[in-house]
Amino acid sequence: MPEINEERFFIELTHEVIDSEAVVARLLRGEAGAVVTFDGVVRNNTKGRRTLYLEYEGYETMAVKEMRRIAERTVAEFPDLDRLAIVHRLGRLEITETSVLIVVTSPHRKTAFHACHYAIDRVKESVPIWKREFFEDGEVWVEGQTPPGF
C-alpha cells in the first residue's frame, strides 16, 4: 500500500523485498544535496545465539498511520529536510535482508543525518509491528519498546 503525501513522504508496508535504490530514486530531485539512508538488516545472531530467520507481523492499518504520523513529526522537527521515506517489510526475512528502510533527502547533510536517526528511533518505539526470532532450538518474541507516555 504505497502512499505519497503531497509528494513529500513515501510510506510503505510491504511483504516483498525492499528495493532501496528505487526508493532513493523516487525521492531524489535537484534540490537535495544530501541523502542519508538507514537500512535495518537481519543479523545472524543475538547475543551469540545463531539466528536462522525472523518473522514480522503488524497491525497493518495502524502501522501505516503511525508511520505517516512519524513522517509528519520528523518534518515538523526538521523543517528544512526535502523528502522522507519510511518503508517496513513484513513476513519471513532471511539474514542480511532489509526489514526497515528510512531515506531522508535534504539540501544539507546535518539535517539528513539527524532526521533519519530521529525517524528510525520513533519507528522502533511506536509502529505496531512485532518480530519472532527463530533459532536452531526454538523461537522467541523479541522484547519490545513502548511509545513514551503510554
Binding site: 535495518g40 514480522y56 507481523e57 503488524g58 497491525y59 492499518t61 495502524m62 502501522a63 498511520k65 503511525e66 517496513h88 526489514s99 526497515v100 528510525i120 519507528v123 522502533k124 518505539e125 511506536s126 509502529v127 505496531p128 509491528i129 512485532w130 518480530k131 518474541w141 523479541v142 522484547e143 519490545g144 519498546q145 513502548t146 511509545p147 507516555g149 503510554f150
Partner: protein
Amino acid sequence: MNVDVLFFGQCREIVGAGRASVEVATPTAAGVVEAVRMRFPGLGALDGKLLIAVNEDYAKPDDAVRAGDEVAIFPPVSGG
C-alpha cells in the same frame, strides 16, 4: 457494553485468536484492558506492559471507548 478487541503479536498467541468480543463495565481504555485481563488470565505474563489502541491511535487509560470503535491490544512493539 460489548467491545470487539483485536489482538496482535504475543497477545494473539496467548489469547489463541486475533479477535474476541468482551463485555466491558467501564467504557475507557483502562476498562477494556481490565476486562480483557479477566477474560484471558494468560495475558498476566504481559502485566503492566499491555498497550491499547483506539481507532488506530495509542490510547491513555482514561480515554473513552465508544460503541463501534476499533480497539486493539498488543505487547510492546519490536519492529525495525
